[in-house]
Symmetry: C2
Subunit: 225 residues, 2 copies
Amino acid sequence: MDFAFDVISTEEYARQRESYGPLTDALRKLIDIGIHTAVDEATAREALEHLEKAAVLLEGEQRRATSTLRDAQSGRPIAWANPAVGLRNAIAPPMIVEHNRDGSCWSEFTLGPAYEGPPGWVHGGICALLLDHILGEVASLGLTQPRFTGTISLKYLRGTPLGQLRAEAFVERSEEIKTFARGYLKDEQGITVEAEGVFITPAWARDGDGSSKGGLATEAGGNFS
Amino acid sequence: MDFAFDVISTEEYARQRESYGPLTDALRKLIDIGIHTAVDEATAREALEHLEKAAVLLEGEQRRATSTLRDAQSGRPIAWANPAVGLRNAIAPPMIVEHNRDGSCWSEFTLGPAYEGPPGWVHGGICALLLDHILGEVASLGLTQPRFTGTISLKYLRGTPLGQLRAEAFVERSEEIKTFARGYLKDEQGITVEAEGVFITPAWARDGDGSSKGGLATEAGGNFS
C-alpha cells in the first residue's frame, strides 16, 4: 500500500477538474446511453469511430499519480480515480462525501440506469460498493488514517429504487486496533440497506510500535478502499 | 419487480452483441484512459467533441427492454445492462458467470485501473459488488428463480491485487424461504475475500401460497441483483 501522497495545490486541482471533469461526465452519459441504444449497425460503427478517436487523443499523455494526490489545504487525499467517489472515474456516480464536525459522513447522489439490477431497482452490489466506501471514509477520518476493511455486513430491508438517494455513516466505537462503523442507504421513505463494518488499523500505523505487533496486520487482513 | 422477461432468439442475441459489444468495450477502454489522462486542454476539448458526437448518434434510438430479455435456448435472463455482468454496461468488468452441473458458479476476469481503491489494489466495495452478484446468481439458479438478498457479510482476509482474479459461489443449504450461499474472491495465492449471504424467496414466488405468507416478503426485505 502506498500512503505517500503527492500534494496538489488548490489551483492545480481546479485546473484538472475543469479540463478533465467534462470528459468523465461525457463518459457517464455514454455509459447510460450505450446500455439501451438500438441504433442501426452503420450508426453504431460511426459512433465507435468517434470513441476510438477520443481514446487515441486521451492516450497521448498518461500520468499515474492521479489517485494519490493530497489537497494542500484540507490534507485529504483526492481520490480522483476511485470507483465510488472519483471525479475522474466514470464508474463512480460519483458519491461526494460530506464530513460533519462530529466526524460523521453523508452524501446525496442520483443513481441512473448504469447501476440497475432488477428493472427500476439499484443492484444490491452497488449498494454494497457505496456503503463500503462511506463506512471506510468515516472509519479512516476522511481517508487521512489508514484503516482496512476487516468485515462488512449488509442487511437489505427492501429494494432501493433508482433515483435520488442518501448515504450516511458514523463511527459507533473504537477498541484498540478496531474501529466499528455503521451506515445506511436511504430513499425518500427511509432506510433501504443497513451496513456495519469493522475496520483495522494496520500494524505499521500503530503509534510507531509496529515491530511488536507486526504480525497482526497480516492476521487481521483487510482492504483499504 | 418485473419478472416478465421478453424472449430473444440466439440470432438476435448474436446480432446485438456484434453491433453493440464493441461500443461497450471502447467505453471500458475510455474509462481506464480517462482516469489517468494528462493531455493539454485543447486535446481534451477535441476528445470531448468526439464523445459528444458519439452520444448524439447513440441517443438516436433507445430501447428499454435490454435488461429484461431471456435467451430462447437456455431460458436464462440476458442481463445486458447489469453493472456486474452486463455485456452492454461499461461499468461491468464484465464478470462472465459459468454454471457447473452441481449448481455452483465461477468466473475468471481481470480488474484494471477503473476498479482500484488504494494504489494497486481492488476497491473493497468492488469486491463486494462482484461477490454479491455471484452469490445472488448461485442462490437464484442462474437468475431463473426470484431470490432477494436478505443479508450479505464479507470478510477481507487481505488486499485483492488488481489483475486476474477468480470468483466462486455455491449454495450451502436451504431452509424454507431462505437460501444460504457462500463464495470467495481469489488471486493466484488463494482466497482474498470470503462472502456469505442469505437470499429470500419472495412471498409471491412461494408455491402459489402467497396469500397466507404475504407479509413475509416485506418483513424479510431484500434486494434482487
